[in-house]
């Protein structure tokens, strides 16, 4: 596990190198674009997405409807704006679940390295890893029925071992450091050392991984919605927009192309931002690659 703490730099330096990193800037702008679309959709959208206008269905893109209209005559551009809300909210909360549950587990496992507890936590992680996220979602849906909340739980559960492993691996290398030894000599307990000395030093890694899991969450949410296990009507979702027009792609390509592009650009933005952040936090990696 790379050790980024050695390379921590003052904040002004970080911002400076962020501005000079093209991949970070492109990713950041794309991400801001979709977050803005989601936020603005709460107060304004070009057309109301809950109103069906069947005579106006499957219109090609025009000045009136920038991205055309769907099978129910709804404005696709407006639906993508509102859909951004769902995608971002689901993925964000799922990352939150992963961090809130996974990081303490990982820190605990590292603090008690080699103990039975460590073993139990790590094997539990392996077990969750053995279930592909989609299977977790299918089983949760079988029990509780489909919906955005269950999609969040399914994706969130899958995020827990990711963060637990990352936190444990990074924390293990820090436990051998002199400053941790000094803290132990000073009489600090494992919990306090984990919170005060380990956590701040693995924050960079967590942010980078959080960005990547965020983008995976967007993809997973779209996939679940696509098979009907995610967000339910009437709330629009990018994945369900694709599913609803699965048989219409030849007749009205815009119904399939634009929601798909929205997913691709959001995920691309987050990935570029994650790559950029990694380079910024750890310049050694940039030279090595």
């Amino acid at each position: 596990m790379s050790d980024m703490s050695l390379n921590s730099r003052p904040v002004s330096g970080v911002i400076g190198s962020a501005l000079r990193s093209p991949s970070f800037m492109i990713g950041f702008l794309l991400t801001v674009l979709f977050v803005l679309a989601a936020v603005i959709s709460f107060v304004w959208v070009p057309y109301d997405v809950t109103v069906l206008n069947i005579p106006n269905k499957l219109k090609a893109p025009s000045l009136e409807h920038w991205f055309g209209t769907d099978i129910f005559g709804r404005d696709i551009f407006s639906m993508i704006m509102v859909g951004a809300r769902v995608s971002i909210a689901v993925a964000l909360v799922a990352v939150g679940i992963g961090i809130v549950a996974g990081v303490p587990l990982g820190l605990l496992a590292a603090a008690r390295h080699g103990s039975l507890l460590d073993e139990v936590i790590m094997r539990g992680n392996d077990l969750v890893f053995a279930f592909p996220a989609l299977l977790i979602a299918i089983m949760i849906t079988a029990v509780f029925g489909p919906g955005a909340i269950n999609a969040i739980i399914a994706i969130g559960i899958f995020n827990i071992p990711v963060f637990a492993r990352l936190a444990r691996g990074a924390a293990l290398s820090l436990w051998t450091r002199d400053y941790v030894l000094a803290a132990r000599v000073a009489g600090k307990g494992q919990a306090r050392i984990s919170a005060e000395h380990i956590l701040p030093n693995i924050l960079n890694l967590l942010i980078v991984q959080g960005t990547i899991q965020f983008s995976l969450g967007i993809l997973a949410e779209a996939g679940l919605a696509f098979v009907g296990l995610g967000t339910q009507p009437p709330l629009p979702s990018w994945g369900r927009m694709l599913a609803e027009h699965q048989t219409l792609y030849a007749l009205a390509p815009q119904t399939v192309i634009f929601p798909g592009l929205a997913i691709v650009l959001t995920v691309l933005g987050l990935n570029l931002m994650g790559d950029g952040l990694r380079d910024i936090f750890d310049p050694r990696l940039r030279r090595a690659r």
Binding site: M139, A142, L268, N271
Partner: protein, 316 residues
């Protein structure tokens, strides 16, 4: 090697037991009684009770768990509530669609990623490398089900090279089956190939910076010889890990892609079984998929240990 193998088989068994308990418990708490579901709303309570008894649903949970698990060892998965045929037969029919699709996609992904990754690493920072990195960055962001729809649009809708969906079955001949699987396999493979190519590239770049490569160059090997004889072999370990992980992604991805192409695979079996409350099918089908994933992880670990004796001492 033997102690390593024994330890690894032990943890394989433990994972399988734990997974089966989790699956059993989840299915156990599903609301809705299969017996009343099968008989409809107007069934008399004693009829429902009789059916529950004949299905073995009135036995205590741990007995039903035990019978389910030992049954699987004997190859008996019970009888589907809705289809009235052995679950084993149902799954066997579907596995021969989903598994070949997954393997086809994994093969494609590896065959594409390997040369692309090597090329990018060998020409590091050249325009070739930069464009490969750009294209793969995009490939990672593309959802496979959307890509599948675009492939349908172009290759089935416009060019008419392939049919847009449906699987003729292996009875129609090997090549007919493979042809029907090509678009779904490509849709599954390309996003994964993007990830794999990037891993191949960065792993190879790490290896090329090692001392033994400098030694190889110093003893007179050309860059190309050092690359092929020493670097690639050593760069393969992380690549193998990702290939193992991709198996599980592809298997799950196949469930979605099958829907787009109307394939009679595990995906449609599981989705139908859920809507019909045919829980006995869901339980065994999910268990089989998880078994496949755990088994592949196990095989990857054992392969490492064969390739690199240092790893036999256990993971840190």
């Amino acid at each position: 090697m033997l102690p390593f193998l024994a330890r690894r088989i032990g943890s394989l068994a433990a994972s399988l037991i734990a997974a089966s308990i989790v699956i059993f418990l989840v299915i156990e708490v599903v609301p809705g009684d299969p017996a009343s579901f099968m008989l409809g709303l107007n069934a008399a309570p004693d009829t429902v009770a009789a059916l529950r008894e004949s299905l073995g649903l009135d036995a205590p949970a741990f007995i039903r768990y035990w019978e389910w698990v030992t049954g699987m060892f004997r190859g008996e998965f019970g009888v589907s509530y809705t289809y009235k045929v052995p679950v084993g037969n149902l799954i066997a029919d579907r596995v021969w669609v989903s598994l070949p699709l997954t393997i086809y996609a994994l093969t494609l992904s590896t065959l594409i990623a390997f040369p692309v990754g090597v090329l990018a690493a060998a020409r590091r920072n050249s325009p070739t490398d930069v464009s490969i990195m750009g294209v793969t960055q995009l490939g990672i962001a593309v959802p496979n089900f959307w890509f599948a729809m675009l492939l349908q649009l172009v290759f089935a809708g416009i060019l008419r090279w392939f049919s847009a969906g449906g699987f003729p079955g292996w009875d129609a001949g090997f090549w007919a089956g493979m042809k029907a699987m090509t678009l779904p396999a490509v849709a599954l493979a390309l996003p994964q190939a993007s990830i794999l190519a990037r891993v191949m590239r960065s792993s190879l770049l790490d290896t090329l910076g090692e001392d033994f490569i400098r030694t190889a160059r110093a003893k007179g090997l050309s860059r190309r010889q050092a690359l092929w004889r020493h670097a690639i072999r050593n760069a393969l370990i992380p690549v193998l890990t990702i290939i193992g992980l991709q198996f599980s992604f592809l298997l799950a991805g196949a469930i979605i892609i099958e829907r787009i192409f109307y394939f009679p695979g595990m995906g449609s079996l599981i989705f139908q079984a859920i809507t019909q409350r045919d829980l006995i099918v869901v339980k065994s089908a999910v268990m089989l998929l998880v078994f496949a994933v755990i088994l592949v992880t196990f095989l990857v670990d054992v392969t490492y240990a064969v390739a690199d004796p240092r790893l036999r001492r256990g993971r840190s």
